[in-house]
């Protein structure tokens, strides 16, 4: 008997002194906490956020992102286009070297784009750059892009693509690029070099002493992968982490309470969430029904009650965070079930005996697909279901795993689906709204078709002048608030935490991966 008590006490003592011994902290390493590891370091093949983060340390684009998402010269020193915006001439920086010492020239740019545009490579974003007809070198430091049509995203997306080394990858046939070891052993021009990658655990980078931009202020970066949110929060609290990239509402609240010394970031994010409406389904093809659904859905109560107020009710597809483009002067859909019912009556859907509306013998009943079986999503769906019921629409909910959800919605086998969109600092909605962009061509899962919107999104993509473009997207926002393509739900916030010893160099802090745009100039207190 006493033996067992002794054993228990010894166990307890071991554990308690185990927690007293902290980890040694290297003051020269910036520790970034991420929830998931990246898949590859080759920008031609990665689609996840973590991979993009690492690539940002290792590679440089021609044009980088500055304050207010405006473009800044990077590997390109200047660029200009012909008046029709079909021919772009880009001047490249001299004296840039790859991490293996070789010089950066126009051959690298030409090779990168040849690989990206070749279908055999398998670049996942190739379809976005269909409009680029040709990329040619005009001397060692000049590149000429020829476009088949003008595109407002050329500067930000095309010129923002990282450049890869021709002298390393040039000999590999495009179709075999995917198998090359470049994804584990990259060569780049960027501010950092890969030190070591232990998959799903940690990836570390050291500064590039020969970086063309100047000296890098951070000697070493360690990205620690910790999929468990609580562990990430704990690490910020006890100081073993420096940057926590992405926090949920409750985690943020916990840090506010328990770690007041941390610098917390809370910024409107670039994502919109909404309910897709399949407008080939009877009922959903009628805009009055869609408007009624939006009037009948108490989104304020959901944001306030279920999301603790930590989101913004969306008024359209352009998120509030896009300050230069967001137009608040559109029709609002404040909660008004009476108006909803009136609209449905007008549309000819009259309440049946069980309270559900009917028309020509057909019940107004839909299935809502949600991706994810977690409680938060379920509660949201249940609330929507209840609100719809009280205006006479029957909604059943089906939760699916992500892969099946994508397959079903892209196959257009759905009535309603809860989804999201965005992440790009541009108001373009072409592939979502243009009437010919129904899958598999684009992302118009709704089969939405409105001639004015068609005109606006097509023209908007081809117009480069800000004032003209602004007017076009204002029109688009106004019209889509009347003829609803989707049921707008929320714009989210981006939350992050920084250790007080970390100092950013810019004052305009941008959300998501743009938080790290100036990481080479961050300072660490010692």
């Amino acid at each position: 008997m006493p033996l067992r008590i002794f054993a228990l006490a010894a166990y307890a003592a071991l554990l308690l002194c185990g927690c007293a011994a902290g980890a040694a902290r290297d003051p020269n390493t910036l520790v970034i906490l991420e929830a998931a590891d990246g898949s590859t370091l080759n920008p031609l093949f990665s689609t996840d956020a973590a991979s993009a983060l690492y690539e940002g340390f290792l590679f440089d684009p021609l044009v980088n992102v500055g304050d207010d998402f405006k473009p800044v010269p990077w590997l390109a020193t200047s660029w200009r286009s012909t008046p029709d915006h079909l021919h772009w001439t880009v001047e490249l920086r001299h004296g840039v070297r790859w991490s293996d010492g070789a010089p950066f020239t126009s051959r690298d740019v030409v090779w990168t784009w040849a690989a990206a545009l070749d279908p055999a490579t398998g670049f996942p974003y190739r379809g976005q750059f269909d409009y680029i007809a040709q990329v040619r070198a005009r001397g060692p430091y000049t590149v000429e892009f020829t476009l088949s049509q003008p595109n407002a995203l050329f500067e930000s997306e095309a010129l923002g693509t990282p450049i890869l080394p021709e002298h390393v990858l040039g000999k590999i046939p495009h179709r075999l690029l995917r198998l090359s070891s470049f994804g584990e052993h990259p060569v780049g021009t960027g501010p950092f070099l890969l030190e070591r990658w232990r998959h799903d655990e940690e990836i570390s980078f050291v500064r590039n002493p020969h970086w063309w931009h100047g000296s890098v202020t951070i000697p070493r970066i360690a990205v620690r992968i910790e999929f468990n949110e609580q562990s990430r929060l704990d690490a910020m609290e006890d100081g073993s982490g420096d940057v926590l990239d992405g926090i949920g509402t409750s985690g943020y609240a916990i840090l506010q309470q328990q770690a007041p010394k941390l610098r917390l970031l809370h910024l409107p994010d670039l994502y919109s969430f909404f309910i897709y409406t399949n407008q080939k389904r009877p009922g959903l093809d009628d805009n009055r029904v869609r408007q009624a659904m939006l009037y009948g859905w108490d989104r304020e109560a959901v944001v306030h009650g279920l999301l603790r107020g930590d989101a913004i009710v969306a008024t359209g597809l352009v998120p509030v965070a896009l300050r230069r483009w967001y137009d608040p002067n559109v029709r609002r859909y404040d909660y008004d079930p009476g108006r909803a019912r009136a609209l449905l009556d007008q549309a000819g859907w009259l309440p049946g005996r069980d309270g559900i509306r009917q028309k020509d013998g057909r019940r107004l009943s839909f299935e809502l697909l949600v991706a994810g079986a977690d409680a938060a999503t379920q509660d949201l769906a249940a609330e929507f279901q209840s609100d719809m019921r009280s205006i006479g629409i029957a909604v059943t909910v089906r939760s699916l795993d992500f892969a099946t959800f994508i397959a079903q919605t892209e196959g257009l086998h759905y009535d309603l689906a809860l989804g999201g969109w965005g992440g790009v600092p541009d108001p373009d909605q072409f592939t979502l709204l243009e009437s010919k962009q129904v899958p598999p061509v684009g992302n118009n899962l709704m089969s939405y078709s409105n001639p004015i919107v068609d005109r606006d999104v097509t023209l908007g993509l081809r117009t480069l002048d800000y004032q003209k473009r602004r007017a076009i997207y204002d029109s688009m926002q106004r019209v889509t608030a009347e003829d609803l393509p989707v049921l707008f739900y929320i714009n989210t916030y981006y939350r992050a935490a920084l250790n007080p010893r970390v100092h950013l160099s810019v004052s305009d802090i941008l959300p998501d991966q743009y938080l790290f745009r100036d990481i080479f100039a961050w300072r660490l207190d010692r």
Partner: protein
Amino acid sequence: MHFLRRYARRPASLVGIAIVVVIALVAAVGPFIVPYSPIAISHQLLGNPQPPSFAHPLGTDILGRDELARAMVGARISLTVGIAAMLVAVVVGTLYGATAGAAGGAVDAAMMRIVDALLSFPTFFLVIAVEALTNKFALGIIILVIGLLSWMGVARLVRAEVLSLRERDFVAAARALGAAPSRVLLRHLIPNALAPVIVAASFAVGDNILTEAGLSFLGLGVQVPTPSWGNMLQDALLPAVRSAWWLVATPGALIVLTLFGFTLIGDGLSYALGASSGRR
């Protein structure tokens, strides 16, 4: 009868029956009595679960739904799935085990090998894998899946009983009188093998209730908005409501109570049937 009196001799067994009967009654009748619907959401109470009060004896959940009404419907689901899945398992297991035991020899060995293989899989993991693969969460499918993944224990029991009964006098007598093998099986072997099956069945109901709760907790069982004790617990995990102890306590305590009842019944049956058949 003799066995009922043996059963009633232990107070614990009676307590078990009382518990299960009360829960069944509440499940059957309760939802008609309680004035709230288990799925009616309250906009005012959204995000603000209320502790137990006179109006809501078990409080409200994050969507303002009455917890008592939800618990009662959850009881219906649990009992239905528990008992129905048990019946599926018993029917399949009995037929399988009896056939194996009666057939004997290589057929029996092969059939039991299959049972051994099936028993090696972690059942709960298999259940959630099957549910996720098929993406079908209708109550009937859930019952079938749970039932079809739990019949193996019954099969083993029945086979063992049949094997030992096979050589007994009354079987030889039936055969001598020219009875066909299937008739021997159905009329003689199976009814006598049933005693341990009944005991196993009552424990099985409890196990099935736990499995269904786990399934719904992961979101792979009963779907929104129908409440099940399992998905009520999933709701209770949201960080916003961790302080709402009544949401965490209610479904869990009800599961423990229900299982306690069925376990006592199982123990009681084991005692009542074990001694009376003169074995052990």
